[in-house]
Symmetry: C2
């Protein structure tokens, strides 16, 4: 198993990225990693981490696509020597590479994934799929798409559903993941034109489709995969993030508001930290950009070594289980009208 | 000032509804209220509350539209003797009635508002607009539309923006409310077809349009009015609700998890209750269904007397400030192409 990691993606690159790679190498026996980026600096990181083995290979890349630019596709073309483009080229061209991880610009990863690596045969649109915490401890829910496709057609959402289902099954050993359509009501007739049409189409898909789910139940733990267009998914994802931050800020104020609260906090500190951790996205790994020919993972922009390690483990698991082959097989077996794909 | 209240809307009807009305009568000098519903039961409530004045009038209605049915428009037509339809008829037909409040079925209120009361001249679509808490204490943000229109055109969102701006200005004495478009990125070019087109149109509207806002910043307090289509707004609203419930459940578990946490909780109980209250939607009043000829308010389904009182105060304020006249004046002054309205 060999994966390529963008050494210069994310706020804490390159040191925390390299550290996460070294941790993964130490934990996973048959793993090899290629790291892209400024060779000299990356080697310095490895020295600092006392790593001198031969399971990490550095491939030089002189520049960095630093943040979410307006036109990522243009950047992908104009910056062939950036750490993400070099990593994508390696993923695409080298047969020994099984997956890619980057904590860099989401736009660059999405555009680059399609331009450089391409889609799984039959997949109309790849979708970005993060895992979110749920009320059930240690159970996460997959949200797809959450930003790759702002305007979608029903067939796109059906493909998201199939890819999400196969991925969830691989990741968590769930035989028939419960796939739900994100909507404004649970009744079949509810929704906008897109969700109404998608509902009818999802009923015919070879998945365990359990109907509509309202946004208030996203984190209930009753569902495994939530299907939506990239615009709505992005709103949901960021609204959950924003609300968590709103409440944690509020909680801080509450604690500071009186002597007794501060005293109480001293007793509760450990439990509070546990709570804060359980709400921390990074613990749930990166988002897979599902539907590209080889697995591509977007780690959080502020990933530290631990979250890079978690994302590497995800990638290894997905690659080991031949998730992409399964997706291709199911999608090729569908009886889709050509007009649905237009 | 006279308002009509649906005595049988909501989980706690009729007693808490009637109690809220009596509280409002006692607090607001020149207020009169008409309550619709089963006359005998409503009178019993008034007796229980020791109210014997002449500022509350009961109008009999024998049935109740109980929950969000599949086809509310059909119900509005087939149940003319329901408490909500009787209230809507009173609002529509009686010149002495200034506004309506119901904690009943949202679908029935939205359909009934349009069918029975009609739109303000020039308004393409009315929109449901709840107020949400923000990080800034005592400052709320208005989200419009959050469920009345699942599929929207740019002109609808422009009308939401104008109505939201006028309403916010009336409610909170803010001269130029900061109006933002809910989107997946702050840059002008971000979004789906609807938001990209709407952005360009909003720039020309007579409002203080400050650009796009991401869902993670909805509750930041930096904005006064958030404009979106009804599908997205509903997702956002319910996702905030769901996340608050997710975290409060988590917090409960955290408190129960150890002896020290339980001890700490004893010291923090008061502050925790304050936190819980600040996250309680009901404190922020009802949602106005903005754009109907007379003000219509949807109170929360589980409204108690206090939240009915808060919603009555909102309605009185909006009616006193001639909010609807201002909306009509601005919308009639717009230079809109006929093709935009198609």
């Amino acid at each position: 198993m060999k994966i390529v990691v963008d050494g210069y993606g994310g706020d804490k690159a390159p040191y925390e990225i390299v550290k996460g790679c070294v941790m993964a190498i130490n934990e996973i026996d048959d793993l090899n990693i290629v790291i892209t980026g400024k060779q000299k600096e990356l080697n310095e990181c490895l020295n600092k981490l006392n790593y001198s083995g031969d399971r990490i290979e550095i491939v030089n890349a002189n520049t960095v696509i630093s943040c979410d630019e307006e036109n990522p596709a243009k950047l992908i073309r104009s910056m062939p020597d950036s750490s993400i483009v070099v990593a994508l080229d390696i993923l695409n061209k080298r047969n020994d590479i099984d997956a890619l991880i980057s904590a860099g610009s989401t736009g660059a990863i999405l555009s680059g994934g399609i331009l450089k690596v391409g889609r799984i045969k039959g997949v109309s649109r790849p979708g970005l799929a993060p895992s979110l915490p749920t009320k059930i401890s240690n159970k996460s829910v997959l949200l797809i798409d959450c930003g790759a496709n702002a305007d979608c057609k029903p067939i796109n959402l059906c493909h998201f559903a199939i890819m999400g289902s196969v991925y969830y099954s691989s990741m968590y050993d769930v035989e028939k993941p419960r796939v739900a359509l994100l909507n404004v009501g649970v009744e079949e007739a509810k929704g906008n034109i897109l969700t109404k049409d998608t509902f009818q189409m999802l009923k015919k898909m070879p998945i365990n489709f359990v109907g509509n789910v309202e946004a208030r139940d996203c984190l209930s733990g009753d569902y495994d995969v939530l299907v939506t267009d990239g615009f709505s998914g992005n709103l949901i994802l960021k609204s959950i993030e924003g609300t968590i931050s709103f409440i944690l800020d509020n909680l801080k104020e509450t604690i500071k508001s009186s002597f007794f609260s501060k005293l109480g906090y001293l007793f509760m500190r450990k439990s509070f930290n546990k709570l804060k951790n359980s709400l921390d996205y990074k613990q749930y790994g990166g988002s897979q950009f599902l539907g590209c020919k080889k697995p591509i993972f977007k780690a959080h922009g502020n990933s530290d070594a631990i979250s890079i390690l978690i994302t590497i483990k995800q990638a290894v698991r997905v690659a080991n289980k031949n998730t992409n082959d399964k997706i291709e097989k199911i999608i090729s077996s569908l009886n889709i009208e050509a007009s649905d794909l237009e």
